[in-house]
Symmetry: C2
Subunit: 523 residues, 2 copies
């Protein structure tokens, strides 16, 4: 049986890799929220598989019986994603959304065969890459279907083609971030796509959710990296991407990017790659205010002077960072910015000098590389902290959005106020900007609050209030987390009835029996 470095079913990643909460942090948490230890239920089982024998036989004939799994453990490991509500449910022993069967195709033709079986037997197909969804993207609506297949892409981890002259690589969807980087590094290349979920999230998931990494300013969003893709739909496979760009009608690649498994299963993507950087430098800057730092980001973006990484914490997030004994900064206030530079030594040096000149001219204080390196060292650790806090009865959740620069301050205030109001006194709301464009930026909010009797209701109320504020401000419901099931009502408001109609018509045409990730994305 093919396995991989599985995530814990009730926690992020591999808990052995988590840093234990330092005593000082535990003290702070006790002070802020009080400690209310909530150990997870550890003997839960998923509901019995509802799969008909005939379907099991057909699936076995599609991929081989070794790759059709109905055991409790495998199905448990393919239940939901890693949003805070997902973790709250998993910790409570709720495995009601477990798939009936986990199927592991070896290649595109086996995906086609599985989809054909799903259509014939009316089974939902939920593509599973890294299982890192934080928006309910892995919870199929089984209402009109006879069961749920988790289409586990764990066996599809090949580098199918490498074109060093064009600087492109064709990758299979099951490759996780580090696996894709390792394959490319053998040839001296990198994808440069490092979302916080990097260690577990997959290439197919990056494409299906329009992922954006922490180095997006330098390497580009994942959708900007994709020059071609193949998707398997119930109507057949389609390969798109005959040129870097063209004028041949609507860009249909952009319809599968962000489609979250509802229009087709992405069986390969061809992505732009870059030479492995010789040098990586991360530098901290201090700003007197969030506003001043954000204005500096805007100046850089509009001057064509963006570093590889650029992020800015608001006053509250900066203060929390500084409370962490691992972070650097002495008696400082204001806002912490991280800038990162990757590439050839000369180019890095030139860019860092130019950026530093602009930032110093705008009132920033250079803090040197220590805070930058501290950020780089901890860049994938955030989700582990959430589990430690859940153990103590404190939930942490994130919501994120994006807007144009002139609306940034209004959006920030609106969402922050909505969260603070919804969560009540004692809650903590932090914000950072981590993705910038010439015309605007993202805003990423972290909230923490003491769990009450119904933490799912608390979370739903807070996320709902924040989401309402985003749409009221004319902003997007998600900059890089995608829609899943959690964001659907606000997504419908964002794209309007004609936008919804467009997606419904594509869905009805490509997937007339509605087997692909039913209930996700499409209102």
């Amino acid at each position: 049986m093919t396995t991989q470095n599985e995530m814990h079913p009730q926690r992020w990643g591999n808990p052995d890799h988590a840093t234990a909460l330092p005593d000082s942090a535990r003290g702070l948490i006790e002070l802020a929220f009080g400690i209310d230890e909530r150990p997870p239920v550890d003997d839960a089982l998923p509901p019995q598989s509802q799969l008909a024998g005939s379907a099991l036989v057909a699936l076995s004939s599609a991929v081989g019986s070794d790759y059709v799994l109905v055991d409790d453990q495998t199905r448990t490991l393919r239940t939901r994603g890693k949003s805070t509500p997902d973790l709250v449910k998993a910790r409570a022993g709720d495995l009601s959304d477990a798939p009936d069967v986990v199927v592991r195709p070896a290649d595109q033709s086996e995906i086609e065969a599985v989809i054909a079986v799903a259509v014939e037997h009316r089974l939902a197909v939920v593509p599973f890459g890294g299982g890192t969804s934080v928006v309910g993207g892995l919870v199929a609506d089984r209402a009109r279907l006879s069961g749920v297949i988790s289409l586990d892409l764990v066996r599809m981890k090949r580098l199918l083609a490498l074109d060093p002259e064009s600087m492109t690589a064709t990758l299979e969807p099951g490759l996780r971030g580090p696996e894709a980087e390792a394959l490319l590094a053998e040839h001296g290349f990198t994808l440069g796509h490092y979302p916080q979920s990097f260690e577990y999230a997959s290439i197919g998931g990056f494409a299906a959710t329009r992922s954006s990494g922490q180095s997006s300013a330098g390497y580009g969003r994942f959708d900007a990296l994709v020059v071609g893709l193949t998707a398997v739909t119930p109507s057949g496979p389609v390969t798109l991407g005959s040129a870097p760009a063209n004028a041949a009608g609507p860009d249909l690649r952009q319809v599968f990017l962000g489609s979250e498994g509802t229009l087709g299963v992405i069986s390969s993507v061809t992505v732009r790659i870059r030479r492995l950087p010789a040098v990586k430098q991360y530098v901290g800057w201090r700003w007197p205010s969030f506003e001043a730092g954000a204005d500096a980001m805007r100046t850089l973006a509009q001057s064509g002077l963006l570093p590889t990484v650029i992020r800015l914490s608001d006053e509250a997030e900066t203060a929390i960072n500084l409370a962490d004994p691992n972070a650097v900064g002495e008696g400082s206030s204001g806002c912490l910015m991280i800038t990162g530079f990757e590439g050839e030594a000369a180019a890095v040096s030139a860019k860092r000098t130019a950026v530093s000149e602009v930032l110093a001219g705008l009132g920033g204080t250079d803090l040197g590389e220590d805070p930058g390196q501290a950020w780089a060292n901890g860049r994938f650790h955030g989700p582990y902290l959430r589990d430690s806090l859940l153990d103590l009865g404190v939930f942490v959740e994130t919501v994120e959005t994006a807007t144009f620069w002139s609306q940034r301050d209004h959006l920030y205030t609106s969402v922050k106020t909505a969260l603070e109001t919804a969560l009540g006194s004692g809650a903590i709301v932090l914000c950072h900007i981590s993705h910038v464009y010439e015309t605007g930026c993202s805003l990423y909010f972290t909230m923490a609050a003491k769990e009450g009797d119904d933490p799912l209701a608390q979370l739903a109320q807070a996320k709902g209030a924040a989401s309402d504020a985003m749409i009221a401000a004319g902003a997007t419901i998600t900059h890089h987390h995608a829609i899943g099931i959690d964001h659907k009502p606000w997504f419908a408001r964002e794209i309007g009835p004609v936008g919804v109609q467009m997606l419904q018509s594509l869905k009805a045409s490509l997937d007339p029996t509605g087997v692909l990730n039913p209930g996700v994305l499409i209102p």
Copy 2:
């Protein structure tokens, strides 16, 4: 009555602005092809308007009777676009594709009203911006309809919003290139979009065809400039673009971009703008071969060192350029490259120095600014030359494509051979690269041949052979000219049956009566 600087119905632009063919050039043409003067028919009339009186009344009530025009001259001026076959037909007095009525809405609500009338009376709606299509994008298929409306956007020329902080502007679709630039220049901004059709083409057309300008390396393709748009469909209007980028499902903006009036009429676009450049410098370089110059372009693109403009002529195009007494270059062979730098003085100087260092290191010869300035002075004049040659019995036509770098040479050879074979001995085939990306580039071919008895058949055969070669090479049928009716068969091969099905499903949903630009784009 609203009018504007109309193009001549049988020639490009305003013939008074054309430079007369110098005697030396006429001599060269006589030598190459022989002179066979073919004066155009000058008293042709369009067929009688077939519009029913009830439709006329309804349209008048939608936009006011002053803006519903059925006179022969207005209809003649809205007949077809400016491809060479279009000009050959117009010169022969063939006005069979004239619309029945020209309707000029004042704003989005009047577009909605006109579309409602069109649906009720089963009239085709052909959006008309600049009338510069070279792919048959303005020739509606009236087979299942009772008439054709040319939806002339000449009254929709407002700058609807300007956001200097976000660096965006919202423009109406009827603005021609120079008009949009003039409105933005009042505020110190530029769009920087300069296709060869710039003087006549419109904002709506740029968006509907995924236009790409001569400065695309610096300012980006038009589809990359668009951050938001509103389109009016028979199912209602839709506004998209809540953020510079996001993860909220498929990017539906990219469905209307390139939709060529078949899914909706674009009633406004919000575009990224830049500060007006303080300095513009254009510099020529000589390369020993097309291959060497193309490799240098690739190096620049993959080093993040692209100038604002970069283009490279092959040996044949370079030789023809040098035969033009207005072009600069003494006794030279090889291939001419033009690089252009626009921006603040210091940034221009730094970029030019860095680019020059790379190009010199790769074997290029700096020719200074004279050839660059000569190119800049003539950058919009090419289409006028085509008319002068048609007067002499020589047709000139262009086809263009794009591919990844590793396929460039194969594509170049395939298409060039296909054109030379189809056109026979005595024909001239030239090529240049004018748009480059990290992963690939465009190839733009110009062909010239003596007109025989059936020039339309000659053109169709040559374009067909070139198009077959593009698709066989896995390249795109068009990098920046769009699909129209001329490219449809190859477009269907490029996107495959599932791609075609996606477009057909969107069309059936948004435009169930099929009134929007019928016959165009969608196979």
